[in-house]
């Protein structure tokens, strides 16, 4: 044991020396009195006001929210400086999902690039594919056939619906509205099932290719899409019943994450956040691509510029997307889904075999048995790829989160010189401090949820 006289010295480390044992300071005396039960102390603390003053004077707390936190909308780290529950400074730390996709595309052919870009913003893979392919097509000077363009529009709008549903679902979950989460993911599953039926994959489709589409829709596409439209038309109004009038939902979102138009423009914010501030800036309307000018749809706006307005806009945009899909179905006419140019178009019709999707049997039979030229051509196009004339383009499209721009540079080779993505998640996240500083810490969550950043796209 130790050399101390008291047992407590060895067991608890308590200082029992005369100075140490006398913990009763002048400020907070603890008077003692003898009772039949032994010695009793009356302990009193300081005044509560003094405690508060001590705590709020210089007691700033800096907390790290994330990167692994269920409420930060992905692997996003928020560094918050708090005074009490008020956020005085907020900064976000990103990069946890950086996968070097832009660099990787420089080492693949132009067609292979689609497989990479579709993995960036995993909630809007088709927007990425479409924007990338539009950029490559602009560099090539070709345009996808009409049927491919209409099919792209259908895919993009289904994708927009599924993305907005996730925004709603995860946003609801982060605020504690778990029913919003379960319903949102249930409806999104409908959209993903449909996309799987149309493209073969739920996500990361790589279905839109430079020059058109990988292949045509399956034969029963119209029935499936109409079923989907019916289901969504029936279920989307349920969100109004579930959330729009609900007091907790309103109170958590109203006047939270306020960002007016001038701040949006200065910070480069686009998409539903900009439209919630009153500017009807939707690239489908102002700079139409893929023939969007032919469709009759509204661009919903609001002037409240808060999280609740953004929720309402996303809901309304889903209805508008359903309208666009409905019109697109009527526009569809039979025709090719890939450009005629055999130097760009993949040389085969793909088909599903026992080991997944691949070249159709007839094509394999032809190139292996009948035509050496076809074999050479196929081999060269698949391994070498096609050359793209030198130059650079910037092609923006309206992704569910805002302006998704592809700055693609070619030096005339079979691989991109540079693919830079102007990711709306990346840009929009800059508004987090402006939206949340000065508010409560719980409102930071609501503000970030209303920005709806997707970290896969943000970090690329």
């Amino acid at each position: 044991m130790t050399t101390g006289n008291n047992l407590s010295d060895a067991t608890t480390g308590t200082d029992t020396s005369p100075e140490g044992s006398d913990s009763r300071s002048e400020a907070f005396p603890a008077p003692e009195r003898e009772t039949t039960e032994g010695k009793v102390y009356t302990v009193t603390g300081g005044d509560w006001d003094d405690v508060l003053e001590d705590a709020s004077n210089d007691e700033r707390i800096i907390i790290n929210l994330g990167p692994q936190h269920p409420s930060t909308h992905g692997v996003l780290r928020l560094v918050l400086e708090l005074e009490g529950e008020t956020v005085t400074q907020a900064r976000s730390v990103i990069g946890y999902l950086h996968t070097g996709i832009e660099k990787n595309t420089e080492y693949r052919t132009w067609t292979q690039g689609v497989t990479f870009v579709t993995r960036m913003d995993y909630l809007a893979p088709l927007s990425n594919e479409a924007a990338y392919c539009l950029a490559v097509e602009k560099l090539l000077g070709v345009e996808a056939p009409r049927r491919a363009q209409v099919l792209r529009v259908i895919l993009l709008e289904i994708n927009r619906i599924s993305s907005h549903l996730v925004a709603l679902a995860t946003g609801g979950m982060e605020l504690g509205a778990l029913t919003a989460m379960t319903s949102g993911f249930r409806e999104r599953e409908e959209a993903l099932h449909l996309l799987e039926h149309l493209t073969g994959l739920r996500m990361n489709h790589a279905f839109i290719r430079p020059g058109g589409l990988a292949q045509d829709f399956p034969a029963d596409y119209e029935v499936k899409i109409k079923e989907f439209l019916q289901v969504m038309n029936k279920r989307l109004p349920d969100y109004d019943k579930l959330l729009t009038g609900q007091p907790i939902w309103r109170n958590r979102l109203k006047d939270v994450g306020y960002l007016p138009v001038d701040a949006c423009l200065a910070l480069g914010i686009t998409g539903p956040v900009l439209r919630s501030a009153g500017l009807a800036w939707d690239l489908r309307k102002v700079e139409p691509y893929l023939g969007y000018e032919e469709y009759d749809f509204e661009v919903p706006t609001d002037t409240a510029a808060d999280s609740f307005a953004r929720y309402l806009l996303r809901l309304e945009e889903m209805h508008q997307s359903l309208r666009i899909i409905n019109q697109a179905l009527k526009k569809l006419e039979p025709g090719p889904v890939m450009v005629e140019d055999q130097k760009i178009a993949w040389p085969a019709k793909l088909s599903i075999g026992s080991d997944g999707m691949g070249n159709s049997l007839e094509h394999v039979r032809k190139i292996m048995g009948q035509s050496m030229e076809s074999l050479i051509h196929h081999f060269k196009l698949v391994t070498e790829g096609f050359q793209v004339p030198a130059g650079q383009v910037y092609v923006p499209v309206e992704s569910p989160r805002g302006e998704l721009g592809y700055h693609v540079v070619s030096d005339g080779g079979t691989r991109p010189m540079r693919v830079h993505v102007r990711e709306p998640s990346f840009v929009n996240l800059q508004a987090m401090p402006a939206m949340s500083e000065g508010g409560m810490i719980a409102d930071v969550i609501a503000a970030v949820a209303s920005l709806d950043p997707v970290m896969g796209g943000c970090d690329r």
């Binding site: 990787n104 693949r108 030096d411 691989r415 102007r422």
Partner: protein, 273 residues
């Protein structure tokens, strides 16, 4: 340039700008407007190079190719300067920009070259005037590029004289126009020059949204944006060595065995580019 003097001057600045864009405009071009883009006025500047020379049919060597295509030579791509008229709204814009530059005392040499390609206009600008140019583009009523859509770095390859470029995509929401500003950075600098890092002026002061864009370009290309409030890495860890998206930075990767064959990592596969 302070903010106050520009506001009252705007009407004055506007009037000559309109005149230039109006009828018989080419005769009334102020000297500043034409010299900026006319070839030959700049003192024998080397043309911009944005690409590399290619040799042979497949750009490979050492394969014992006897086809005769090995002697094929393709020069490096160099964006051609556009000549008036540019077409569409490009002429009006260029006139308005020239007028704005004249009133704001930005020298005409700030715009080194104008290229119109695939329906997009690119202004190759001098790095030292970038910030003032952006301010003019944002503030002039005839220009109004309110939104900076994107800032990106481009590395055109190790052998290219001005290999690093900083590219800005500006959007005018008022006029629904998009332009591209491109700065070819003088780096690696000539011998005896003080700067050993590629530097460009930061435009965060004019376009706050450029903050993260510039941090990303710094992170990936090592372009130092002077005047940026906090130029730190954004996607890579703070202590990372090197700039990943430069062409001389390896892609990395390991060989993978697939169906009995060994597939080399992507940057070591045969390239036909």
């Amino acid at each position: 340039m302070a903010d106050e003097p520009t506001t009252p001057e705007e009407p004055k600045a506007d009037v000559p700008g309109r005149e230039i864009g109006g009828e018989d405009s080419s005769a009334q071009q102020p000297d500043a407007g034409l010299q900026a883009t006319a070839p030959g006025t700049a003192e024998a500047k080397a043309p911009l190079v944005t690409g590399r020379e290619r040799q042979g049919m497949f750009n490979i060597s050492g394969s014992g190719d006897t086809s005769g295509f090995g002697g094929l030579k393709l020069p490096a791509y160099s964006p051609a300067p556009a000549e008036r008229p540019y077409g569409g709204w490009f002429d009006e814009l260029a006139d308005d920009l020239a007028a704005a530059m004249a009133t704001r005392e930005i020298p005409a040499e700030a715009v080194q070259q104008v290229t119109v390609d695939r329906g997009e206009i690119t202004f190759y600008v001098a790095g030292e005037h970038l910030l003032e140019l952006c301010r003019a583009l944002r503030d002039e009523p005839a220009l109004r590029f309110e939104l900076c859509s994107s800032v990106s770095g481009v590395d055109y390859g190790v052998d290219v004289p001005q290999r690093l470029h900083s590219v800005y995509h500006l959007t005018s929401m008022t006029y629904r126009r998009r332009i591209r500003l491109e700065v070819a950075i003088d780096w690696p600098a000539a011998e005896g020059a003080p700067s050993t890092v590629p530097t460009v002026q930061s435009v965060v002061e004019v376009y706050p949204t450029a903050d993260w864009h510039e941090r990303e370009a710094y992170d990936m290309f090592g372009i130092v944006y002077e005047g940026h409030p906090a130029l730190t890495r954004i996607l890579m860890p703070d202590d990372w060595d090197g700039y990943p998206q430069r062409k001389d930075y390896p892609l990395g990767g390991i060989p993978v065995e697939y169906k009995g064959a060994e597939i080399p990592p992507p940057d070591q596969r045969r390239s036909y580019s």
